[in-house]
């Protein structure tokens, strides 16, 4: 693989910027049937909670134009089984693993981070703050700067020093920049933007909500413009904070769009349901897109859309053969 696509998320160095989005790559075993997971920049796990959860009843998903509306209820095996069964397997695959954590209270997030502290092989932690805060009438942490910051602070305090902590934010808030600032002040080393947007569909056949959970999270290419805007705004306010862009990445050009907006990496979510090979494909297409634009290094493209028109990034000279490592 060429050096061109190397990237960093704070202290975490990645061979390439293409990750899986939390909740969309299964345990990793399912995707490993289709490609070698070590080809990913990193594998982001489904959000792990303290207890096993069965999630919501079916139907949990409805298809919407260029999107999916899902209400899963955060199903998962719980941290115990995750540490025994899923994480060791992932680490064996030689892929960097970013563990996503979710909790119903600040304390639960802190406890989960503590459980990971002495587990070797965890490359990073992503804090999914789009969870209901049971101590505050079920209001989503992600909607309140102080609540989101409290969660990040608890995780940062318990996580192993040196392991980057990324805060994953919800887009449907009054001002995402305020929440991003609060999380970074609380110790987040980076941000993942964005989680799903709340939405709803009504079945014209049954005349009732299409999902058992009534409302659900909208994902897929339908939300990409929202996600790109969030990345752009936050990068403008916090240019040195690394960002993972998420939301409707389905091609290399989609990934490039996020990078130009200010993301140092992208995560592929819903596209994996459509195409299990989307990860390696997006990477290949991104490499081609950079080459076609003669952009020497991915890092030179990060946030390029913020530069004045006419600014030219460092370019590969056409006669210079591409440097290959490995």
């Amino acid at each position: 693989m060429s050096d061109r696509v190397r990237t960093t998320l704070g202290a975490l160095e990645l061979p390439n910027p293409v990750l899986t989005a939390s909740g969309c790559g299964g345990t990793g075993r399912e995707l490993a049937q289709f490609f070698d997971l070590s080809r990913l920049g990193a594998f982001v796990t489904t959000s792990v909670m303290a207890q096993a959860r069965a999630g919501r009843p079916t139907p949990r998903v409805t298809e919407t134009p260029s999107g999916l509306l899902t209400a899963m209820g955060l199903p998962g095996p719980g941290i115990e089984t995750f540490l025994e069964r899923d994480l060791p397997w992932l680490i064996e695959q030689d892929v960097r693993v970013i563990v996503s954590l979710a909790g119903n209270s600040v304390e639960e997030y802190g406890d989960l981070a503590l459980r990971l502290r002495h587990v070797p092989g965890v490359a990073g932690i992503e804090v999914n703050v789009a969870c209901p805060n049971v101590e505050d009438r079920g209001r989503m942490f992600a909607r309140h700067p102080s609540a989101a910051a409290a969660v990040v602070r608890a995780v940062r305090a318990h996580a192993r020093p040196g392991v980057p902590v990324l805060a994953k934010l919800a887009p449907d808030v009054t001002d995402i920049v305020t929440i991003a600032l609060a999380c970074v002040d609380a110790g987040a080393d980076g941000l993942t933007l964005i989680n799903t947007l709340e939405g709803m569909a009504i079945d014209p056949g049954t005349l009732r909500p299409g999902l058992t959970g009534v409302s659900g999270g909208l994902s897929g290419p339908a939300i990409r413009p929202v996600a790109v805007h969030c990345v752009y705004q936050v990068h403008a306010a916090l240019p040195s904070t690394p960002i993972v862009g998420v939301g409707g990445v389905a091609s290399g050009l989609d990934a490039l769009e996020f990078i130009l907006a200010g993301a140092s990496a992208v995560a592929v979510g819903t596209a994996l349901f459509h195409d299990p090979n989307a990860g390696p494909r997006v990477l290949r297409e991104l490499e081609e897109a950079l080459a076609a634009r003669r952009i020497a290094r991915l890092a030179d493209a990060v946030g390029l859309a913020h530069k004045p028109a006419g600014y030219v990034p460092p370019q590969v000279r056409p006669q210079e053969p591409e440097k290959e490592t490995l």
């Binding site: 049937q33 207890q51 079916t58 998903v61 298809e63 260029s66 199903p75 989503m140």
Partner: protein, 295 residues
């Protein structure tokens, strides 16, 4: 690793109307070669730049070695996705994943098998019949549907089976009634050692119940449930969950696509499909609005 699924752009060979359904034959040698009865395919709908992201899952009716290896699916065009599929023509390309899921477990000895099919799902029992016949098993069919044109494969069943019983709710073919009505009699008359089922949930439930009454193992494909609930077919989206109880008596939510579609009938909690039973592992104690949010 020939037992791993592949993703391929398959060429449509033919699309034919068969009674109420469409039968589509796709050229996909790598899939045909790996396929074992009970496994399924997940097709992308709408072409390369589609706005429809969920895959559609279909059981395989028949695998042939023609044109290097073809697979045939049978489906009803009940929604825009399947209607798009029905509109494909010879030489069109369809993005296909397969073969996916766990196949039917096969008897080691040449035993007597009862194969029960309903609606388009019934098409998948014929791929199983092929394999069982090659192993020297006796096979008997029970096929059912609301009316004659909804019963798939009755003539083929008569041709290849040791017996074939057809039921229709309106009496337009075979016996009037449902599969449930004839199963006990057919089980008695055929002396079947094992029962296989593929079709709507109600039919699978009846198959399990009848097999249980005769002390027989039942293996059923929850393909129809998967078609209704699934989005990926590969086990990553977790949208196709159904409750199954294990050896340890604990109920777990399993994926119809990756843990099935073939399940032991007696393990499935048929009455609780579409719910999270309160005693399932990880079931929420109280499903309040604050549980889960939008994820």
């Amino acid at each position: 690793m020939s037992d791993t699924p592949v993703q391929t752009s398959a060429t449509v060979l033919t699309v034919r109307q068969v009674q109420d359904y469409h039968a589509m034959t796709l050229v996909a040698p790598a899939v045909a070669e790996r396929f074992r009865p009970g496994q399924f395919l997940a097709l992308a709908i709408g072409g390369e730049h589609t706005s429809r992201l969920a895959r559609r899952c279909f059981g395989v009716h028949e695998v042939k070695s023609d044109y290097g290896g073809t697979v045939e699916i049978v489906f009803a065009d009940t929604e825009p996705g399947t209607a798009w599929l029905a509109g494909r023509r010879s030489r069109d390309q369809v993005d296909l994943l397969g073969p996916l899921g766990r196949p039917f477990r096969l008897p080691r000895d040449p035993v007597t098998c009862l194969l029960v099919g309903g609606g388009p799902g019934g098409a998948a029992v014929f791929a199983l019949a092929d394999t069982l016949l090659r192993r020297g098993c006796q096979i008997h069919f029970v096929l059912g549907g609301p009316h004659a044109k909804a019963v798939f494969g009755s003539r083929m069943a008569q041709r290849i089976g040791d017996s074939a019983t057809v039921t229709t709710e309106d009496g337009s073919m075979g016996e009037r009634g449902t599969v449930r009505d004839v199963l006990p009699r057919v089980l008695r008359e055929t002396g079947a050692d094992v029962v296989y089922g593929c079709g709507p949930t109600g039919l699978l439930r009846a198959v399990t119940q009848a097999a249980g009454e005769f002390g027989l193992p039942s293996q059923v494909s929850v393909e129809e449930f998967l078609q209704r609930t699934g989005a990926c077919g590969t086990g990553v989206c977790m949208t196709c969950m159904l409750p199954v109880h294990g050896d340890d008596g604990v109920t777990r939510m399993v994926r119809a696509c990756a843990d099935g579609p073939v399940l032991r009938g007696d393990r499935v909690r048929w009455g609780d499909l579409g719910t999270i039973p309160f005693d399932a592992l990880g079931a929420p104690r109280v499903l309040s609005v604050s549980e889960g949010g939008s994820q």
